[in-house]
Symmetry: C2
Amino acid sequence: MQNVTPLQLETEVSYTKDGLVAVIAQDVKTKTVLMMAWMNKEALSITLKTKDVTYYSRSRQKLWRKGETSGHTQKLIEAFIDCDGDTLLLLVEQIGAACHTGAPHCFFRAIKD
Amino acid sequence: MQNVTPLQLETEVSYTKDGLVAVIAQDVKTKTVLMMAWMNKEALSITLKTKDVTYYSRSRQKLWRKGETSGHTQKLIEAFIDCDGDTLLLLVEQIGAACHTGAPHCFFRAIKD
């Protein structure tokens, strides 16, 4: 395992042309993949500083502190950046449901014949 | 858990304007998140039919059967689609290293002060 400091992220994160980076949230205890969302530079900075996971809502075009209305917050425990810098993996403590539908996570539909 | 058939995916997958959907690969045994990549409609169809996980390489702009040169293939065990259809989660059997760097997975850099 290597370390990247928050300062080094300035050059290590490869943002899309819209200024976003993909983020996978995984439950630190169960290892369940909870959701995939996006952050901009500000959301990432806030998340690392406060440990309150904060995304960028592409539909609402604004910062979105996870659980700000539902109370279903995510506390950041550990963060990782992938080999080419375009995806982050966050290990989180999830309070309540991760999915806006009320499901524990967003991947509740199996692809099956 | 709900089921979505491959046929229903025609309307359930929300592709980007470039015709891609985000895909998270997770090791079915260890629950390690291995990588994030992209599929187009053809890659998804091939993956579901053959169980050989096949992505779409954005840099090379062509289909990319995982492990086609390295031998580090991914066998699809289970597939899920998220609540809003823009991300897939695949549980896979990973042969060898998932990351092109030779690391077991792509998230080997921790973000730390």
